[in-house]
Assembly symmetry: C2
Homo-oligomer: 183 residues x 2
């Protein structure tokens, strides 16, 4: 076994801070840490590199990378002549935000709205004097429906403004991103 090479303390501190953000959004802290180490490093890293830097087990790294790729925040990179897989951070976080809202939050909103609607039906069928409850439940259903529409609209729109926001993370070298001289 080789000597472990943990990252510079500054990198670990930053990784932990980003981990807290991502944890607040319902992911495991480790995902944020791994992404940060990849983001701060110039060039791709292997799973083993990441494990060393963050002192994580191979299994934990593998699972973190799998999930990060599922959310499109990390991409797999092929390096010629290398058996191992390498990874690098996706800087366009808008991709991730859109995906999470589209898959996770939309799913939540739909489930909640459906259950509230069903509760409304159940109450209506139960007959007994529950007029007040029914009206309140209607209100809840309205809010759920509104939230769902907001989410749908959010997904529909290209969210140009948000691209600006997360665009702040692109590489410092400032390579042209769109219509600047060829590629």
């Amino acid at each position: 076994m080789t000597t472990p090479h943990p990252s510079h303390p500054a990198v670990l501190l930053a990784a932990d801070a980003v981990g807290d953000v991502i944890e607040y959004w319902g992911f495991r802290k480790a995902l944020g840490r791994v992404w940060t180490v990849l983001y701060l490093w110039d060039g791709p890293l292997s799973a083993g590199d990441i494990g060393e830097r963050l002192q994580m087990s191979a299994g934990a790294v593998s699972m973190a990378l799998t999930e990060l790729q599922r959310w499109a925040v990390v991409k797999r990179v092929w390096l010629p002549g290398e058996r191992r897989e390498f990874f690098e951070a996706e800087v366009d976080l808008w991709k991730m935000i859109a995906k999470v809202i589209s898959e996770r939050e939309r799913y939540l909103a739909r489930g909640v709205r459906e259950r509230l609607e069903q509760a409304g039906k159940m109450l209506a069928e139960s007959g007994s004097r529950v007029k007040g409850q029914q009206e309140k439940l209607e209100k809840l259903v309205s809010v759920a429906q509104l939230a769902e529409r907001v989410i749908e609209a959010f997904i529909q729109s290209r969210m140009a403004d948000f691209s600006t926001f997360t665009g702040a993370l692109v590489e410092p070298e400032g390579r042209p991103s769109k219509a600047r001289r060829g590629r």
Copy 2:
């Protein structure tokens, strides 16, 4: 011990759905359930009532009510001639959202921004060739600062639009909420 009187299944279903929403926002599911039972019921309920309806222990109800009051989503009500305390749901959820953003999210944002800044300093002092990392870290700091400013601005503004949103929960009776006669 008296026979338990759980809520109507429809109410429990709705309570659970709201519980999921609140859980997604980082609170315990029980808080959402308690709020929903209070919201759907016409009039105030005692802690014992809530425990019966949701089949929760007295301790759990007490803790849930304490936290709900801390976030201003439930208010204590005094009923003449009653020894027990009663509670009812606060319908203006904007109060809660503002409080959570102001206390919890602002705190998170500040902590993250500070740690990223410190990481930047550490990297700068370390001397060695970490130019690329420093630049990337600067980007992260910028995003954190931006997020913090957005949160501050959010808190500053009265958020009139959001009141409209959450205003949808006010009592169906549609009594004027501001210039109510007397009282």
